[in-house]
């Protein structure tokens, strides 16, 4: 079984987190220590400073760490801060970036088709997954977006301390390309019914490091009583498949 973390971060935040990894080497060491072979990574500069700065930084800093896989942050294409949509896609192809993050709160834009439609129309047929953090009433934004963004492969990383099943289960039921990261699925007994109703292929192991303890996130999946094939898929197989299916 190969662990492939869909949500890990390296770099210093403006307000330091107690267990953050200030350097990429520190993150690589940490993942190695707890037995996580690969990780899809972000850098705080992507949402604290500017995607143009943070995206470049991710590429630059992970180049000697093949186990770390880059993700980039998006912005509304209208302002062309990341170039045109074609420019952005060409750069993704150059640097083998196969997953994106949206930070609409930090970057102050509306996550809807009017705003990011021109970008989504390009990434949807390419099967590029888009990651987003969401909780509570902000699920309404996701409901609204998915009504229009047919086929969008959206990975939701819930940040709620309380279980959000009543928010996300209707989306899993209606939209087959919606997936969940496991990093904050804390409710006891939460994983097996999700697998039963929607399939193991809808879940990706994630640590949400450094907001969550990365080692602890292994336990609920390892010992939840699911068949080994499901655990293996969630631990890393699903993410590998997702990235393999991307066309750049």
């Amino acid at each position: 079984m190969q662990w492939f973390d869909c949500h890990a971060e390296f770099g210093r935040r403006a307000i330091p987190n107690a267990i953050q990894c200030p350097t990429v080497s520190a993150l690589a060491d940490l993942l190695g220590e707890i037995g996580v072979e690969r990780a899809l990574v972000t850098h705080p500069a992507q949402y604290e400073q500017h995607p143009a700065v943070g995206n470049a930084r991710v590429i630059e800093e992970i180049c000697d760490y093949p186990q770390l896989v880059p993700t980039w942050a998006i912005l509304p294409p209208q302002t062309e801060e990341l170039g045109t949509v074609d420019d952005f896609l060409a750069a993704m192809a150059t640097f083998e970036v196969r997953a994106l993050w949206a930070y609409p709160v930090q970057h102050r834009y509306l996550l809807n088709m009017t705003t990011i439609g021109p970008l989504l129309e390009t990434i949807i047929p390419r099967r590029i997954p888009l990651f987003i953090k969401v909780e509570g009433e902000r699920w309404q934004t996701i409901y609204d977006l998915l009504k229009d963004a047919t086929g969008l492969r959206l990975v939701c990383v819930t940040t709620a301390l309380w279980g959000d099943d009543r928010f996300f289960r209707p989306l899993l039921e209606r939209y087959p390309d919606v997936l969940l990261a496991t990093s904050t699925l804390f409710v006891e007994g939460q994983l097996p019914p999700l697998v039963k109703h929607y399939g193991a292929h809808r879940l990706l192991y994630g640590s949400s490091f450094p907001d969550r303890q990365p080692g602890a996130s292994l336990f609920p999946l390892l010992h939840c009583g699911l068949p080994e094939a499901d655990i293996t898929a969630i631990a890393g197989g699903n993410l590998q498949r997702l990235l393999r299916e991307v066309t750049l």
């Binding site: 707890i34 279980g163 099943d165 804390f186 409710v187 006891e188 303890q213 336990f219 609920p220 009583g225």
Partner: protein, 270 residues
């Protein structure tokens, strides 16, 4: 120091260890309005305990938090059904102070009741309010245990906890959630007062908190809790296992301290 000690590796491999049983002193079986729990009933709770190697839990069902007096019936029923696995808190709602005498009598006569659970935020009543004082005086006189919800909330923050613990120093006072959001003052209080303990529910999720608490108060004053079924015991266990502390600290937090303050060997068995 590597996090992967033999204890951590064994837990990762097996999911539970006989030589490190877990005592969870903060749980809430039963359904709840604002959140979906897949298996909140007694059988589901037992399955979870078995899977995660949890030897005993102390329960205060949601029903008891919300429905005065009647709600504690579920506690009695669960204790009677599985006295070897369940310990109980009686819930006192200060909005119904007339129930206190009945509850105090039941607490002494019911095997497995280890103390009282109070929730100043849910009941919108301050810890230092008049209605709580007879309970605290009783707990102080009998050296009984009180688990309070504590938070960065003026009704139950570290300042309020300090006033109570200074006035009732013999009461065994578990700071549920370790004064979440008011951690430094909560740690200072537990370090200063011999009978005040930090209880980890939800606080263990905060990166670095366990290390901070062990440094500040010592692992002998830290109690394991999960709010089960709110939080997966394996996740919260993992937070303790992967914290940058020693195995001796992990043993103290997961079972040693509960065994000591409850005198587990003297409690009911099936």
């Amino acid at each position: 120091m590597s996090r992967m000690t033999p204890l951590v590796q064994a837990f990762l491999k097996y999911g539970k260890l006989a030589e490190c049983p877990i005592y969870d002193l903060h749980t809430h079986p039963d359904r709840f309005a604002g959140i979906f729990f897949p298996e909140p009933d007694m059988d589901g709770i037992l399955r979870s305990m078995d899977r995660c190697g949890v030897a005993k839990i102390a329960i205060a069902p949601h029903t008891a938090l919300l429905a005065p007096l009647d709600g504690n019936k579920l506690t009695f029923a669960m204790l009677a059904a599985h006295p070897d696995r369940f310990l109980g808190y009686l819930v006192f709602n200060p909005r119904y102070p007339e129930n206190l005498d009945t509850l105090l009598a039941r607490s002494l006569e019911t095997p497995g009741i280890i103390g009282f659970k109070i929730h100043p935020s849910m009941h919108d009543y301050p810890l230092i309010g008049d209605a709580y004082q007879p309970l605290f005086a009783w707990a102080n006189a009998h050296r009984q245990l009180v688990l309070s919800h504590t938070w960065a909330d003026p009704r139950c923050d570290a300042a309020a906890c300090r006033r109570v613990s200074e006035q009732y120093p013999e009461m065994i006072f578990l700071l549920g959630h370790s004064c979440w959001g008011d951690f430094e003052r909560g740690i200072a209080l537990a370090a200063e007062m011999p009978n005040v303990y930090l209880e980890l529910t939800a606080a263990e999720h905060v990166p670095g908190f366990i290390e901070q608490a062990v440094r500040g108060v010592g692992s002998a004053k830290i109690i394991f809790g999960t709010d089960l079924p709110w939080f997966n015991p394996h996740y919260t266990l993992g937070c303790v296992l992967f914290a940058d502390i020693e195995d001796a600290d992990r043993h103290a937090i997961l079972h040693g301290n509960a065994e000591r303050i409850l005198d587990i060997s003297a409690l009911p068995t099936s």
